[in-house]
């Protein structure tokens, strides 16, 4: 019984780490630019496809690690253009509904575009460990899952370092807290917008590769992570990065434990029950969010 509990917690942490990577980008972009990007999960899908094509050229270990880099850079670049030419022109008009409509349009465009371009056949990013299993005292898992947990841990750690220790990182947080004050302090808002969107997209791309390695890659794969990422950001507080990290792990573990001890059928509903409860009881989220304009 104990071992089942531990096994489920580990399963939850691994899934949660992928939710984190995707949710952090979403919450950063919301915090700084107040954009609810419904196409965020589709950036993960693009990242996964970058990896699928990259490992054709370079297989094995090097290919897998290389594909992480390529996906982060590639999706970051796409993020740059999307922000510059799609979201930026609308931000000056500043009605939320336009921006939400735009991101939903983008989500439809990306999903169907991917279906035309890559085909609907589900694929997998080859696992450099050939899904080798590790059996520990209380639980089993595969090497690649632990590596995914490790890599998302490293990415989250580096991001935290960047946001707290570098001048640019502090500027991003300042803009997120109060845009006007940040402008008055001489922060180049336009640059911060670009950078936030690029970093957020790159993280989603990275998350997509991890997701595609332990799960599968197909054009519609972005939809579920998008929903989960929204659940995570609302849970942790919209725009709060620390909230997204904890929220991701909490949601992952809540889902597996809920599935195991309450009902497997309602595993996916747990995230949404959490959203409703959080919105009713602590609308700011567990860690407090940015004020909505």
């Amino acid at each position: 019984m104990e071992s089942l509990f531990l096994q489920q917690v580990l399963n939850g942490l691994i899934v949660g780490s992928v939710y984190c990577l995707i949710a952090i980008g979403l919450t950063m972009i919301f915090g700084v630019m107040r954009i609810s990007n419904f196409a965020h999960g589709d950036f993960s899908m693009l990242g996964a496809y970058f990896a699928i094509y990259f490992v054709l050229f370079l297989s094995g270990w090097a290919g897998w690690v290389g594909s992480l880099v390529v996906a982060a850079i590639g999706v970051g670049l796409i993020g740059f253009f999307v922000e510059r030419f799609l979201f930026r022109p609308l931000l000056t008009r500043w009605t939320d509904i336009d921006i939400i409509m735009l991101s939903i349009g983008l989500f439809i465009l990306l999903e169907n575009g991917a279906r035309l371009l890559f085909g609907a056949t589900p694929k997998m990013i080859p696992d450099p460990f050939e899904s080798k299993t590790i059996n520990l005292l209380f639980f089993s898992t595969s090497e690649i899952r632990l590596i995914c947990l490790l890599f998302s841990g490293i990415a989250i750690f580096l991001l935290q370092l960047f946001l707290t220790k570098t001048k640019t990182g502090v500027a991003i947080r300042a803009t997120s807290q109060n845009r006007n004050a940040a402008t008055l302090m001489g922060i180049n808002i336009s640059f911060i917008y670009s950078l936030t969107f690029v970093v957020g997209s790159a993280l989603a791309g990275l998350g997509g590769v991890l997701y595609g390695t332990i799960f599968a890659v197909f054009p519609m794969m972005g939809a579920v992570p998008t929903l989960k990422a929204f659940a995570v950001t609302i849970l942790g507080g919209m725009g709060n990065i620390r909230g997204a990290i904890f929220g991701g792990f909490i949601l992952g573990v809540a889902e597996t434990l809920g599935g195991n001890y309450i009902s497997m059928q309602y595993k996916n509903a747990i995230g949404f029950v959490i959203i409703i409860l959080v919105l009713l009881i602590i609308p700011q989220g567990l860690f407090g969010g940015v004020e909505k304009k």
């Binding site: 799609l86 997998m124 595993k267």
Partner: protein, 408 residues
């Protein structure tokens, strides 16, 4: 101003892409013979629906290349159900009222077909379901509803006989899609477990499109069932096999068989070794000249792609429909009369196709197609399907699943 123009342009492009990919249709100048085809052309089942479409286009392009029927081209109008009953109902209503189709074909996913067949019955339009196994579709006494694929009791008869006479598991568990497809298989196998005295340890569900099954598999591992009924489609089934290995869980997986597609073998690789199911896989019956001819033509048309069960089911479905239209005679101005004549012609169907002979019983259910129990076995490290029962038809003996560390 510039921004709003750009935004509008973007929406336009998005709209165009959506429209073109959700419903492909080309209107020819002269009148055609319109047939509505339902299928989940987007979503996690899209790959399977495309296999079905490929099988259908093989048959239709052939007929059209020879001038169609009565000089009119056969026009397939594809409608996306997204594997959701409400979407399916909307599409089939559009087929019947706006596209004025003579007959509806295709269909995939039991939940969708239960809903769409009821619409067709009410609108007096014949529907021939290609891929869906819930018995409900044909057992409601609807006289406009036909099905070219076996229903679940027929589909599972072979594998059930094997379970009863050969495997005799003492403990079983269920891991299935939370849909009519899953629940139907659950009902049949639950009855069988009762009959053979196997103890049911757990009934676990998941949703179409789920990717993480570690919660369910961890629970199964704790319970150690001898056999696990896994009622899933391609993507989910492949992920379950892979995650079972990662969690070091061994059982005799028994599926319905629809999961055994090319994509499944590519995704699951050697992890799907020992998995069982019922199959109508065309490549297993190459001795049959009709099947061999179908496989050859399919490979020629689609650059060496191997036809799977859904390609063959799609092909048979449209062949049955075209055969009935032909026997019903040239369409007139009176749509309802045409539809009724096609319905009557469908009842008299008797045609040899890739799944075997197709004839309908009085409920509209095909009763002449019998799948065999198959097992995935490794040949040179590559997964391949073999018929394992009954001995007369078996291509290889049954292999008991080994623990993961004993496998190559």
């Amino acid at each position: 101003m510039k921004a709003s123009a750009l935004f509008k342009l973007f929406l336009l492009v998005a709209l165009c892409l959506t429209v073109t990919s959700y419903g492909t249709r080309v209107r020819a100048a002269e009148p055609t013979i319109p047939i509505g085809i339902l299928g989940p052309f987007t979503g996690s089942l899209a790959f399977n629906a495309e296999e079905m479409k490929k099988g259908m286009m093989l048959a239709v392009d052939d007929v059209n290349a020879k001038g169609g029927l009565w000089g009119r081209k056969i026009e397939l109008i594809f409608g996306d159900t997204e594997a959701k009953p409400d979407k399916g109902v909307a599409v089939v209503k559009k087929f019947i009222t706006r596209d004025k189709v003579l007959v509806v074909g295709g269909g995939y996913a039991s939940s969708v077909n239960i809903a769409t067949s009821e619409v067709c019955q009410n609108e007096k339009t014949p529907i021939v379901v290609a891929i869906a196994i819930s018995p409900t579709i044909t057992n409601r006494g609807f006289d406009y509803v036909f099905r070219t694929s076996p229903n679940s009791p027929q589909f599972l008869a072979g594998v059930n006989e094997w379970l009863e006479k050969v495997k005799k598991p003492k403990t079983v568990a269920f891991l299935m899609e939370n849909t009519d497809y899953g629940r139907d298989g659950e009902k049949i196998w639950s009855a069988l477990s009762n009959k053979i005295g196997a103890k049911e340890l757990a009934h676990l569900y998941f949703e179409i499109g789920d990717t993480d099954f570690t919660t369910q598999i961890s629970k199964l591992k704790e319970l150690k069932p001898e056999a696990t009924f896994n009622i899933a489609s391609t993507t989910e089934a492949a992920l379950i096999q892979k995650q079972a290995k990662e969690l070091n869980f061994v059982t005799q997986w028994i599926g319905v068989g629809g999961q055994f597609t090319e994509a499944y073998f590519k995704m699951a690789g050697p992890t799907c070794q020992y998995a069982m199911g019922s199959s109508l896989e065309p490549t297993l019956a190459m001795k049959n000249p009709i099947v061999a001819d179908f496989v050859k033509r399919y490979e020629a048309k689609y650059q060496k792609a191997r036809p799977g069960i859904f390609s063959s089911q799609g092909y048979d479905n449209i062949m049955v429909i075209m055969d009935a239209i032909k026997r019903a005679g040239k369409p007139t101005e009176n749509l309802q009369a045409d539809r009724d004549r096609i319905r009557d012609a469908l009842r008299k169907t008797s045609i040899e196709l890739t799944q075997g002979k197709i004839e309908f019983d009085k409920t509209g259910q095909v009763y002449t197609v019998t799948p065999s129990p198959v097992q995935v076995q490794l040949v040179d490290g590559k997964p391949q399907l073999f018929i394992v029962y009954p001995p007369a038809r078996a291509g290889a003996p049954y292999q008991v699943p080994l623990p993961w560390d004993k496998r190559k």
